[in-house]
């Protein structure tokens, strides 16, 4: 995950409300087709779920030892049309300690070229991913 242009995550320094880098991407028919195939749902209309727009924005600014998705909320507003460019705006929505483990909550919204709101996603990431193996490796 480390990129030369990103900074090492300092959990204590992260501030709630901090903006994350905005970015644009073209949602292609190939992305939609692959997404539908991966989830075995030929009617799926929100391939933006696998783009992980919020955490993608997070990792444009920070690098860390990795993380694990602990909770995710996804709002559907308008299914995106393949071939259109989407703009993602993201920010730090929250951070907290739970049972001694650090979490960061990222949030993002995406909008298409016509200004239609496409979706909104909120993700709670456990920033100590080794906890997963400690609990579940059998």
């Amino acid at each position: 995950m480390a990129e030369p242009s990103t900074q090492l995550l300092d959990w204590d320094a992260i501030r709630i409300g901090d903006a994350l880098p905005s970015y644009e991407y073209v949602l292609t028919q190939e992305m939609l087709d692959k997404y539908r195939q991966s989830v075995e749902d030929p009617e799926a209309r929100f391939p933006t779920i696998s783009v992980k727009e919020d955490t993608s924005s997070f990792y444009r600014k920070y690098h860390d030892v990795g993380s694990v998705n602990a909770r995710c909320t996804f709002y559907c507003y308008n299914p995106p049309t393949p071939g259109t460019r989407l703009r993602v705006n993201a920010w730090i929505a929250d951070k907290y300690m739970r049972r001694g483990k650090p979490y960061i909550v990222t949030e993002a919204v995406s909008v298409d070229e016509q200004g239609r709101l496409i979706d909104r996603v909120i993700t709670h990431e456990l920033k100590r991913p080794s906890e997963v193996g400690r609990k579940w490796n059998t």
């Binding site: 749902d41 209309r45 694990v68 995710c72 308008n78 997963v132 579940w136 490796n137």
Partner: protein
């Protein structure tokens, strides 16, 4: 009146079952543009970062399954415009697992343009263990309900 829909508290929604394969777990990552080895696609990355001996599927795959389950229940005309799913991931899902999404109606609440129908959701694996739990909802327009 063929478009009239009924929603009652405790009503169960049709379940949805998925068999997990590593090829599709990997394809899910690739569909989103993630081509480098990750905890979802690579054994070594998984061991190094999470300590798990085998990769686990992205929680967003379970989110996608819940989305499909809710869309089928509400209809795409309703769900794709107002649907929400909120899941906590409580147990890893891996290649070889079979997961089943199920739920029942928790509440039906009047909103300005319709009624928000909220579903209590759970996803269980082949052993009956819960892998994810939470809620989903959609706003069903007033026109879909019988006139009072």
């Amino acid at each position: 009146m063929e478009h009239v829909r009924t929603y009652e508290v405790d009503q169960e929604i049709p379940s949805l079952c998925k068999h997990m394969k590593q090829e599709r777990i990997t394809l899910f990552e690739q569909s989103g543009g993630y081509m480098v080895p990750t905890i979802h696609t690579d054994v070594e990355a998984s061991k190094k970062i999470t300590g798990l001996d085998v990769p686990m599927a992205s929680g967003r795959m379970s989110l996608s399954f819940a989305t499909e389950c809710l869309r089928r229940f509400f209809g795409e005309d309703v769900y794709n415009r107002s649907g929400v799913v909120d899941l906590r991931f409580v147990r890893p899902v891996r290649h070889g697992d079979t997961v089943t999404v199920g739920g029942k109606i928790l509440s039906v609440v009047q909103e300005p343009n319709g009624r928000r129908v909220t579903i209590e959701l759970s996803i269980k694996n082949q052993n009956g263990d819960t892998t994810a739990a939470g809620q989903g909802s959609a706003v069903v327009p007033s026109g879909f309900f019988p006139q009072e």
